[in-house]
């Protein structure tokens, strides 16, 4: 892929000054920046909650917080990390990169774009404010199983429901915008099968979001009715069915976990090809793999419910379908390895994070397969083994993908190279602490420690102390990341348009100046 572009200086189209620039902006880069900062701030808020959890679990016994508050911490930590960090960060990256990768001036629906962002601070403002109300915030886990989240919930659950509704609207609007942009604004010559993989990953993710966010909205609405209007969707005493809640929730929930990983697949694919100096191996199989993962993700939901008492045929069906999803996932890993094979590899920070992504995400995939084996899941389910699994796919998976993408594109965004030495230091500290934190959780889980426990038996004490130390190091290390980002915004070696050696041939974004003009491509580039 190679293009000829001219970028003129559109001084009169530059950003407005002051606060109104951010409040009223319809520019995809400004909105992308807002999303990314929002997610970064939420990372520290959700992270502090994790620190409270780990401080309490450092030793057996109750020392720092009471179970009531502990449950609020686990619940809000999960909700914030999923809906406030990973998802907005991906949308931020999409806003910045999609127009630049497909050769468009901006997103297709710029005003809608502004609205989708500004809904988020409202949603999380409401959610977090519940923590300061007399009855306390949501305390029923991020999966909010009924009837604990309905009949037995604090009345602040109504704020939680409202906030989930707003998040859902924001995600749906964002997805509509992304799909419209991808279908209508590609540069001439960019056929679907020539789209960059990050664009593909987001196209598929956006469809998943449109399909499942309404299901989430549906389930919280049913809760709202049960709590306030006397219906009995989930209330057994009124003829309802608490298990129905779980079916509906996980019909949303499992596609949701893939929403949190597909864009990361796209990002690391770009990074691995750039730093292996070799185009991605098996482009079309990468696309088909993502598409099959997305389709299969609709028929595996009950693997989260193996202990609710499904009939044998149901258990077996969901075991087989879940194992099936490991095939396209494995194919992606093989393709990344084949891309590195016989490349010319260098190890800049984005590449380090991507290599760690491939290795550690694979470990998360292995524990995923173990969990899919129903009889074995009877022993793993709702223990720290599951906590280890999903943290391996979400932290060194999704989050590393985001961090890698941030390092990869930061010079493009700011025009300045970040500090490579500090970047490497950030990587190694993060890599070591992430494993010290989450690897021992496998053992603690197998040994029998259930999840969402504020206190535990003495035999789990050693590993829990170790895990807490790892978690504190991990948390502190991310302050270094904040420093590196701010430093790169303020100063640094000037970046060339292609930033990375040879990247100029890999995507349209590298043909623009660094930093790029306010409206990315005012003249559509031609793909040769």
């Amino acid at each position: 892929m190679s293009t000829v572009v001219e970028t003129h200086d559109h001084g009169h189209h530059g950003p407005a000054k002051g606060l109104s620039r951010w409040l009223f902006t319809t520019n995809h880069k400004d909105i992308g920046t807002l999303y990314l900062w929002f997610s970064f701030i939420m990372l520290f808020i959700g992270g502090s909650m994790a620190m409270v959890i780990r401080a309490e679990l450092f030793q057996p016994g109750l020392q720092i917080v009471q179970p009531e508050f502990f449950n609020q911490m686990t619940t809000n930590h999960g909700l914030i990390m999923v809906f406030g960090v990973i998802m907005p960060a991906f949308v931020g990256l999409a806003n910045w990169m999609l127009p630049m990768q497909i050769g468009a001036p901006d997103m297709a629906l710029p005003r809608l774009n502004n609205l989708s962002f500004w809904l988020l601070p409202m949603a999380f403002g409401i959610l977090i404010s519940t923590l300061f109300m007399p009855e306390g915030g949501p305390n029923f886990g991020w999966t909010f199983y009924a009837p604990l989240s309905t009949t037995y919930a604090p009345s602040t659950v109504n704020f939680f429901i409202f906030s989930v509704h707003i998040m859902g609207v924001s995600s749906i609007l964002g997805s509509i915008n992304i799909i419209t942009t991808i279908f209508n604004m590609r540069a001439p010559g960019m056929t679907l099968m020539k789209m960059p993989l990050f664009v593909w990953s987001w196209l598929i993710t956006a469809y998943l979001l449109i399909a499942v966010m309404p299901v989430l909205a549906g389930v919280v609405t049913m809760m709202l009715m049960d709590i306030n209007f006397g219906t009995s969707f989930f209330n057994a005493a009124g003829g309802g069915d608490p298990v129905l809640f779980q079916h509906v929730f996980w019909f949303f929930g499992h596609p949701e976990v893939y929403i949190m990983i597909l864009p990361a697949f796209g990002i690391v694919s770009h990074i691995i090809e750039t730093f292996s100096r070799k185009p991605i191996f098996g482009y079309s199989s990468m696309v088909y793999a993502m598409a099959s993962i997305a389709i299969l993700s609709f028929v595996v939901w009950a693997h989260h419910m193996f202990t609710v008492g499904m009939p044998l045929a149901g258990e077996l069906f969901f075991m087989y379908s879940t194992m099936l999803i490991a095939i396209p996932t494995g194919v992606k890993v093989f393709n990344w390895v084949a891309t590195m094979f016989r490349g010319s590899i260098s190890f800049e920070t984005p590449m380090l994070f991507s290599i760690a992504f491939v290795a550690l995400f694979t470990i998360g995939g292995f524990s995923g397969i173990m969990l899919a084996i129903v009889p074995a899941d009877f022993q793993y389910h709702d223990t720290y083994f599951v906590v280890a699994h999903f943290h391996y796919v979400l932290v060194p998976g999704a989050l590393f993908g985001i961090i890698a993408g941030a390092y990869y594109w930061l010079p493009k965004w700011t025009g300045n190279m970040y500090d490579e030495t500090l970047g490497k230091l950030h990587f190694w500290l993060t890599f070591i602490s992430v494993n010290v934190t989450f690897f021992p959780m496998h053992f603690v889980g197998l040994a029998g420690m259930p999840r969402r426990y504020p206190d535990y038996a003495l035999q789990f004490a050693d590993f829990n102390a170790l895990i807490s130390v790892g978690a504190f190091v991990f948390g502190l290390t991310q302050l270094l990341f904040l420093f590196i980002v701010i430093k790169a915004i303020k100063s640094g070696k000037k970046a060339k348009p292609e930033v990375w050696e040879g990247a100029g041939d890999l995507g349209l974004e590298w043909t623009l100046s660094s930093p790029p003009p306010y409206h990315s491509f005012t003249v559509q580039p031609q793909l040769k």
């Binding site: 057996p60 109750l62 020392q63 179970p67 009531e68 449950n71 007399p134 009855e135 199983y145 009837p147 604990l148 009949t151 037995y152 057994a236 069915d241 608490p242 298990v243 100096r277 070799k278 191996f281 098996g282 079309s284 199989s285 008492g309 258990e315 075991m319 194992m323 490991a326 095939i327 494995g330 194919v331 390895v337 590195m340 094979f341 016989r342 490349g343 010319s344 590899i345 260098s346 290599i355 290795a359 694979t362 470990i363 292995f366 397969i369 173990m370 009889p375 074995a376 009877f378 022993q379 793993y380 389910h381 709702d382 223990t383 053992f443 040994a447 029998g448 259930p450 206190d455 590993f463």
Partner: protein, 370 residues
């Protein structure tokens, strides 16, 4: 990467404290073997994939002058590894299905036990003999708060374990009273959700006597971590004697209802009942945790409304965490805890001094039955 693999092969040995419990039943042992099989297959795949990857990273370093080759696709390779992955998965699925069929069998048991999850304790009932009891955490609050040293079985001990006979097929019928709980005994590889309105089944057949400890594994509120499961398996004769004694005790309990109770006797019984069943929410001093759990000390109901007081204990409060205790406890227990809460703390001198006796509870029940 090699490190965790080596470390895990050490930790994952059969007698390790940090691997899945092998357990004592046939099912738990098959599950353990299945778990190890899947684990080693994953390790195998990991070794292959990671060695190719790290060898490539090492061999094709740009700093050593590697030049990128010019290839980006290979259909046969793609087909090859897709097929290979499928074959490996079938290799896993076959034994998994076999163990699953073995574990999932809901034929009747010789002994049927109804297990009900309550916030936050387990209730066990032997269906054939119609006797039942609650099983509460036995670890003291002082140990939890770190005021006294923690005992060996910290958070894994109960006041009364479930007793089952060895070498007998036992069927558990598992349900929930309020929210969803989950009953787990790793040594039997039994984990089943206790869901209100549903009765799930699970079964076991324990070959040897012993004490087996488990936990609640579904988030059920504040004391989710404080409702352990303890099962004691004993020889058949010992079990029969145990049940016979339970039946006699239950009979004696029924007789107690007609006895004339003094205030002191009720107070004494009520105090211990309160400590095990009410203090989790209303707190030992009756101060509660407002606004979630109301204070009983100074509550209008406890001071001057004994009729409503009885009704709350018998029926619970719909749509709140206050359960209907009358369904699961004897008249004596209910009467004594009401009397206790009416006389304890400052209620004794500020209240109307009404004493509720087991007979009042019987009357209440008879009135409802009409």
């Amino acid at each position: 990467m090699v490190m965790p693999v080596m470390f895990s092969s050490h930790v994952f040995s059969e007698d390790s404290d940090y691997n899945m419990k092998v357990g004592v039943t046939e099912v738990s042992q098959s599950i353990f073997e299945l778990h190890m099989l899947i684990f080693w297959i994953c390790v195998g795949i990991g070794v292959i994939v990671f060695s190719i990857m790290f060898w490539s990273l090492f061999k094709y370093r740009k700093s050593k002058g590697a030049v990128a080759a010019d290839f980006d696709d290979n259909l046969w390779l793609e087909i090859g590894w897709t097929v290979a992955a499928t074959v490996v998965l079938i290799w896993m699925a076959v034994p998994a299905t076999q163990v699953m069929v073995e574990a999932y069998d809901d034929a009747e048991g010789e002994i049927n036990i109804l297990i009900t999850g309550h916030q936050w304790k387990w209730h066990y009932e032997y269906l054939e003999d119609e006797v039942g009891f609650f099983s509460n955490l036995a670890t003291s609050q002082e140990q939890i708060n770190g005021e006294v040293p923690k005992g060996e079985f910290y958070l894994r001990e109960v006041d009364e374990p479930l007793v089952i006979p060895t070498n007998t097929r036992i069927r558990f019928l598992i349900t929930g009273n309020d929210v969803i709980h989950s009953w787990w005994v790793p040594d039997f590889a039994v984990k089943q959700d206790a869901i209100p309105g549903f009765i799930n089944t699970a079964w076991t057949n324990v070959p040897e006597p012993g004490i087996f400890r488990g936990a609640c594994t579904e988030l059920c509120g504040i004391k989710h971590a404080f409702m352990p499961v303890v099962v004691r398996a004993v020889e058949r004769e010992e079990f029969d004697a145990y049940i016979a004694e339970k039946v006699t005790l239950a009979e004696a309990e029924r007789l107690l209802t007609s006895k004339n109770w003094t205030k002191e006797e009720l107070m004494e019984r009520g105090e211990s009942f309160y400590a095990t069943n009410c203090s989790a929410c209303h707190q030992a001093g009756g101060q509660g945790i407002p606004p979630v759990f109301p204070a009983l000390d100074g509550s209008q109901i406890a001071l001057s409304d004994s009729a409503r007081h009885i009704q709350i204990l018998m029926e619970g409060v719909q749509g709140s965490a206050m359960a209907a205790f009358g369904e699961s406890y004897s008249e004596v227990d209910i009467a004594s805890v009401i009397t206790y809460t009416r006389q304890a703390w400052s209620n004794g001198k500020n209240g109307d001094g009404v004493i509720v006796t087991p007979k009042d509870i019987v009357d209440y029940k008879n009135r409802i039955d009409l």
